[in-house]
Structure formats: structure tokens, C-alpha cells
């Protein structure tokens, strides 16, 4: 058993960290967040050149064919850089759904352009209820047409196609078609823009059944938790650096235990979330029987921990932490958006309860 990264996994993580540090600096991230869509075609083409848009998809569709652990590592580094724009929506969320529910023909038509970097895409799940649970979806396709509203759809303004989850199937809608109206929702996270979409008799192409959605959503959920871990690590690094250099009463504030112990807790929570995310990535890759539980454990823990790590980070930064110019609040904003996306900690605890308490045996994958 080896619960550490292999050489090639370390290499991927290192090169992703260097890539994002070079191509998505804090200044660049801030420039993009001030734009309407946070999307930049030049940065996108560089992501494509790295193979990131097709990282986990089969080579037959132009992907790189790496595993879910590798996806977690890439998302962790993207999260550390607070990568703005439609990367998660396209390469993780839309891609995973196409990869799991679509027919080969639909994959050639939609997944391959994502891998090749030619298309941006997104997925519409929640409605007025705000629920990310597909079981709460009301929208129903009728005669190949959709009528109704979807909320909290990330990056819809730059999507070349939108995957819509309806009660009776998974559909693709062309955002430029008649009967599709996209309008911004103004969320806390400035780096990942959200939209409301109104469909009035919009033409929709069915690509698969909703019965296959859970696995795709589990992959996206774990990847979002990985992104949170990267944000937590950055928040911790910024905070420790600040605690070493900021002096009050003639001493670095990191010398005071009231500060130091909070840093230690931030470290403990960041490392624990990372362990849970890596395990979830591995369980998904291996199709382990406890994969769904593992994903919920990771999202549950990361959702809460990202918030508390952010709370402590801002507090330790003192007045500086409350300023606009310090990056720490940008991570805090992303953490709040990601906390609720795909179910918050309360949602996932209930899912763990239904998997663990309501079954007769506690699933133990300890072999």
C-alpha cells in the first residue's frame, strides 16, 4: 500500500503548480475577475496545450487518459491559483457527464471538442429551490423542447453548449438557439461567474439517461473538493508567511500561541481534507464500493474546513485581512461558492448517514 504520490503524479502536480504560477499569477487572476466572464482565450489555449482539458478522458476522444487521482492533483493546483474561468465547468463537470452518460457518437460530437480545446461547456442542475440534488429537478423535456429555469449555472455566458439535467434525461442545448435566455447572477465568487438560464420551448438534444449521472457528479464533487484543498493550502501559506513577518509588541505575531495554534489547526484541517480528497480520487479510479461514501466524506470535510481555514486566515491577517487588496478574501469567496455547490457539508453528512447508518453493516474498506 502506498498512499503517497508516484513519481509521475508528483511531476504532474509540480508542473501544474509552476504552470499556474506563471500563467495565472495573482495579478492575472485579479484582472480576469474584473471582466464580465473571467474567461481569457489566450490562457485557455495554454491550458489546452498542457492537455489539461482532456486530462481524464480517453485518448480516442483526444484526451490524455489519466486517472482521477491525477485530476485531483490538477484541481488542487488550479485551486491554489484560484484559476478563473470555465475550466471546471468544461473540463471536469461537462466532460465527466459526457464521458459517463453519452453514446460514442455524442462523445465524438461534444467530448472530443472539449478535449481538443475547441469548445467550452457547462452544466445546468439547480432550479429555483437551489438544490444540487438531481432528484429535486423539476424541469422536464417535452417533445425535444425545454421550458423552465435553471439557476447557479457556472460560466454559461462563454459556453458553446449547455448540458441540462431534466427529470427525463440529460440534454444538450445550444445557448444561441431561440428560447434560451442567459442572465448573470451576482455571486460572491468573482472568479467563477454564475448565471440563470430561462428556457422557453428551447430545442434540446437528448444525450443520455439520468441514471448514470451519480458517478459523473461524484467525480465533479471530488474535483471541487480538491480545488478547495488548493485554496486552503494557499490561505495557510499566506497566513503563515504573514504571521512570520508581521510584528506587534516587538515580536512576529506567529510567536503568540493564540496565533500559532490557529495556524496549526489550519494545517491539520488542510492536510486532513487533502487525505480525504486523495482517497476519494483513488476510490473513484478503482470503482471501489465505498467510492460514493468517500466522495461525500471529502466534500463534507473540505466544505467545512475551507470555511474555517478562511475564517482563521482572515482573523490572523487582522486589518490587512479585511482589505480588498489582500487575496485572502478572494479564496474565502470561492470557498463559500464551492461549499454549497454539489451539496454542502450538511447535505453530504445526510448522504453518509444514509449510506452508513441505514445499511446494516458499516462499509469498511480496510483490506
Amino acid at each position: 500500500m502506498q498512499f503517497g504520490l508516484s513519481e509521475s503524479q508528483e511531476f504532474l502536480k509540480d508542473s501544474a503548480r509552476k504552470f499556474f504560477a506563471g500563467e495565472c499569477s495573482s495579478a492575472e487572476m485579479r484582472r480576469l475577475m474584473e471582466t464580465d466572464t473571467a474567461y481569457d482565450p489566450t490562457l485557455w489555449s495554454k491550458l489546452v496545450d498542457q492537455g489539461y482539458t482532456g486530462i481524464i478522458y480517453p485518448e480516442a476522444y483526444g484526451g490524455v487518459g489519466l486517472g482521477k487521482v491525477e485530476l485531483m492533483l490538477l484541481m488542487e493546483e488550479a485551486g491554489r491559483a484560484l484559476l478563473p474561468g470555465p475550466f471546471f465547468s468544461t473540463a471536469v463537470l461537462a466532460g465527466s457527464i459526457l464521458d459517463t452518460v453519452a453514446t460514442p457518437a455524442h462523445k465524438s460530437k461534444y467530448l472530443a471538442p472539449i478535449c481538443r480545446g475547441e469548445a467550452r461547456a457547462t452544466v445546468a442542475i439547480p432550479e429555483a429551490s437551489g438544490s444540487w440534488n438531481p432528484q429535486d429537478v423539476q424541469l422536464t423535456a417535452c417533445g425535444g423542447k425545454l421550458t423552465g429555469e435553471k439557476y447557479f449555472v457556472p460560466d454559461a455566458a462563454v459556453a458553446d453548449f449547455i448540458i441540462v439535467v431534466a427529470r427525463n434525461g440529460v440534454f444538450i442545448v445550444d445557448p444561441k438557439a431561440s428560447g434560451v435566455k442567459i442572465s448573470p447572477m451576482t455571486g460572491m465568487d468573482l472568479t467563477r461567474k454564475l448565471y440563470a438560464i430561462e428556457f422557453s420551448n428551447a430545442p434540446a438534444e437528448e444525450i443520455g439517461a439520468i441514471s448514470n449521472l451519480p458517478r459523473a457528479l461524484d467525480i465533479a464533487t471530488a474535483a471541487l473538493a480538491a480545488e478547495l484543498v488548493g485554496g486552503m493550502q494557499r490561505t495557510l501559506d499566506l497566513t503563515v508567511e504573514y504571521a512570520k513577518t508581521r510584528k506587534q509588541f516587538g515580536k512576529p505575531i506567529g510567536m503568540f500561541q493564540a496565533v500559532q495554534h490557529q495556524c496549526a489547526d489550519m494545517y491539520l484541517e488542510t492536510e486532513s481534507a487533502r487525505s480525504a480528497v486523495y482517497y476519494a480520487g483513488w476510490a473513484l479510479e478503482e470503482n471501489s464500493p465505498d467510492a460514493a461514501t468517500a466522495v461525500s466524506i471529502a466534500k463534507m470535510y473540505a466544505s467545512d474546513a475551507a470555511r474555517t481555514v478562511g475564517n482563521r486566515g482572515i482573523q490572523i491577517h487582522g486589518g490587512m485581512g479585511f482589505t480588498w487588496e489582500n487575496d485572502i478574501h478572494l479564496y474565502y469567496r470561492r470557498a463559500k461558492a464551492s461549499e454549497t455547490a454539489f451539496g454542502d457539508a450538511t447535505f453530504h453528512r445526510e448522504r453518509i448517514a444514509s449510506l452508513v447508518i441505514d445499511s446494516d453493516c458499516v462499509p469498511a474498506k480496510s483490506e
Binding site: L5, A243, E271
Partner: protein, 395 residues
């Protein structure tokens, strides 16, 4: 990353499972609740049996009857022991902490003298570390050892000594030079507990029992040959022992905690709350799920730490995360048990109406010690702050 067991690990596990299947005593449950003074001969016999199968000290080098087990194999060992609910070993400090320290720092003569009897449980070991005025600030300890010819004369007091009442030997940290900075004047002595001037008293703890002892040393003569490591290098020797303590313990707890949560789920199913089973109560469900998830994360953290340590071979400050994690989790677990049990949660073992023979009231009180023993949570956070995050030392 590959969380499947390797062929070597599988072979190790299967060999152990087969051995345990025929050798693990079936009557431990009859002894478990008895005072340790009564069950101690039983635990000695069990350790000797493990030694016969070469399972008593799997982490030790092969030349010392160990199996040179990797950290993963050690984790497998403790999981398998917990799976069959095997009794603990009599000489658990000797095997887990002091033996490895002697192997690392001892002379050939010392290894030859002490190691075989640690393995056979013939000589039980205890640790003389904490003092009434030196707990978290261990380096401030005052027990003094003055050189007099070929002996040290030891005077002082130790506290919180496990197995003191039955200990034949003690790994004792003493001050040999009071005129240098406190970390630099310490030495570790191996002390025969039958030496004149050694007195052992039970220390009654808040649970009512006495797991620990106080040790008093009055003009105790310890031969110079019993110095472990170098004179005035005792801090390094003692720290090495404490790292073993923090590093490996978490591995044995996963299944114990899993057993707790399984039992709590059963309790929740049986407990009526507002006209329905507590297992259907949304708040109880949230709490049970949180604990259940954290038990798994504790294990993931451990496995990751082991994989990292496999490269370096020596446990390091990573153990502090595990120590904080398991001790605080155990307290939360017991709090949920109390919430489920309501008024029954307070009933002690002596009460015929006590649930699970008073296990939960005992555990509730006992777990307060978890965040204090083996390094308080505050000390662990200092270690993370200074040694892991590189923050300036706070004390």
C-alpha cells in the same frame, strides 16, 4: 498512489491472520473488565505466545526477533490485532517505545542484556518522564543524578508512570548538569526498580482507578553502565521515545473507533426520541455521520503519514496531527454516546442498569485524559507551529 496491499503486505497479513486464528485467546472478554493486577499474568502469557510466533515486536529488526516490518505492515499488524479483539501485550511500553529506543541508542551490552527480556515479558518496563513541575515543559525536569565514582546518585520524583506498580525497569530522564541550558543537561538512565530508595505509589485518577503511579527516588544508586546514549544527550534519546509514542498509536485506533461508531448506531436505532428512533433524528444523523467520516479521515491521514515516513524511517512531527485528531475525535464520539444515552449515560459499572456495563460513563471521563497524556493538545500545536510551519518558538 496505490492503496491495494502489495504481495508482501498480503503475505504478511495472511500469515498473521492464520496465526491469530489458532492462537488468539477466546476468553479475553472474561478478563477484560477485571483489574489489571489480576489480568496481568494473562497478558504476560499472551505476549509470550506472540513472541513464540515472532509477532511480539514486528517493527524490530530481525536480529532482535522482530520482522523488520514496514510501517504499512505495522499498521496491518495493529488492524488485525484489533479485528480479532486480541488482548494487549503486558510489556507494551517496552515493546513499543523503550525497546526501539534501546536498539537505537544502546550499547551492544545493553541490547544483549535488556532486549530479550523485554520480548519475553520477563522484565516489564515503565517510563520516568513527567514530574509534578515538569509536564509539558519536560526539559525543565528536576530529578537529579550526581556522579559518585562509577554510580549516579538519583534523587527526585516522577509522576504519570504507567506500569510503575509492576515495572522491573524504568527509562528515567534525569538532570546530570544543572549549569547548562535545560535541554542540554539531561541524561537517560536505565534504572532497576528494585534498587534501594525507589518507592512506587498509586495515583488515583478522575475515573477512580489507578492506571498510573508516582515514583520517588531517594539516593538511588544507578551504575554508570546504565546510561542510555550519551551523558547530557538525554533530550534526544527521550524525544526519540516520544516520537514512537505519537507515531504508531493512531494505527491501532481505527478499528476500535469503528467499533464504537457501530455500537452507537445500534444504540441510536434502539433509542426512542420524539416518538421515533434516534437513528431517524436528523441532528443525531448529522453527528454520527460526522464522526464516522472523521474516523475514516484519521485512517487516511495515518496511511499518508506512513507512506511519507517510509522514505525517512523515523517518525517525525507528523505524529502531532494524529495525536490531536484521535484524541479530540474520541472526546466527540463519547459526547454523542452521552447524548444518545441521556440520563443512563451517567451510570457507572457498579449500577445494574448501566448500559454496556458502564463502558460509556467510564469512557466519557477517561477521554478527558486523551488530550493531555502523551503530550497535551497545546504542546502538539506548538510542535506543528514551530517544527512543521516554521513559526518562531512560542515558549
Amino acid at each position: 498512489m496505490d492503496l491495494n496491499l502489495t504481495e508482501d503486505e498480503l503475505a504478511f497479513r495472511d500469515e498473521l491472520r492464520a496465526w491469530l486464528a489458532t492462537n488468539v485467546p477466546k476468553d479475553w472478554s472474561d478478563w477484560r473488565e477485571k483489574p489489571i493486577e489480576e489480568s496481568f499474568p494473562y497478558l504476560r502469557a499472551w505476549q509470550r505466545k506472540l513472541q513464540e510466533g515472532r509477532w511480539a515486536a514486528v517493527s524490530w529488526p530481525k536480529e532482535y526477533e522482530g520482522r523488520s516490518a514496514t510501517l504499512m505492515q505495522q499498521a496491518i499488524f495493529w488492524e488485525e490485532m484489533a479485528r480479532v479483539e486480541a488482548p494487549p501485550m503486558a510489556n507494551s511500553l517496552g515493546l513499543g517505545l523503550i525497546g526501539p529506543t534501546i536498539i537505537a541508542f544502546g550499547t551492544e551490552a545493553q541490547k544483549k542484556r535488556y532486549i530479550p527480556k523485554i520480548l519475553s515479558a520477563e522484565e516489564i518496563w515503565c517510563q520516568g518522564f513527567s514530574e509534578p513541575n515538569a509536564g509539558s515543559d519536560l526539559a525543565g525536569l528536576q530529578t537529579e543524578a550526581v556522579l559518585n565514582g562509577d554510580h549516579y546518585i538519583v534523587n527526585g520524583q516522577k509522576v504519570w508512570t504507567s506500569y510503575g506498580w509492576v515495572g522491573n525497569w524504568c527509562e528515567l530522564v534525569v538532570r546530570t548538569d544543572p549549569n547548562v541550558p535545560k535541554h542540554k543537561g539531561l541524561t537517560v538512565l536505565l534504572v532497576d526498580m528494585k534498587s534501594p530508595g525507589v518507592e512506587v505509589r498509586p495515583l488515583r485518577q478522575m475515573t477512580g482507578e489507578s492506571e498510573f503511579n508516582e515514583l520517588f527516588f531517594r539516593d538511588v544508586r544507578v551504575p554508570v553502565a546504565n546510561v542510555l546514549g550519551k551523558v547530557n544527550d538525554g533530550w534526544n534519546v527521550a524525544m526519540s521515545t516520544l516520537m514512537y509514542e505519537r507515531g504508531s498509536y493512531g494505527a491501532r485506533l481505527h478499528l476500535t473507533f469503528k467499533r464504537y461508531i457501530t455500537r452507537l448506531i445500534e444504540l441510536a436505532r434502539k433509542t426512542q426520541r420524539n416518538g421515533r428512533s434516534a437513528a431517524e433524528d436528523p441532528i443525531i444523523r448529522q453527528k454520527l455521520a460526522q464522526c464516522s467520516a472523521e474516523i475514516e479521515i484519521m485512517r487516511f491521514n495515518q496511511m499518508r503519514a506512513f507512506s511519507r515516513l517510509t522514505a525517512t524511517g523515523v517518525p517525525g512531527p507528523e505524529g502531532s496531527i494524529q495525536k490531536i485528531f484521535w484524541s479530540e475525535l474520541n472526546q466527540r464520539l463519547q459526547q454523542i454516546a452521552q447524548e444518545l444515552l441521556g440520563s443512563y449515560g451517567q451510570l457507572l459499572a457498579e449500577d445494574p442498569r448501566a448500559v454496556d456495563k458502564g463502558l460509556w460513563s467510564y469512557a466519557y471521563l477517561r477521554t478527558r485524559g486523551n488530550t493531555i497524556e502523551a503530550g497535551t493538545s497545546e504542546v502538539q500545536r506548538n510542535i506543528i507551529g514551530h517544527f512543521v510551519l516554521g513559526l518562531p518558538r512560542s515558549y
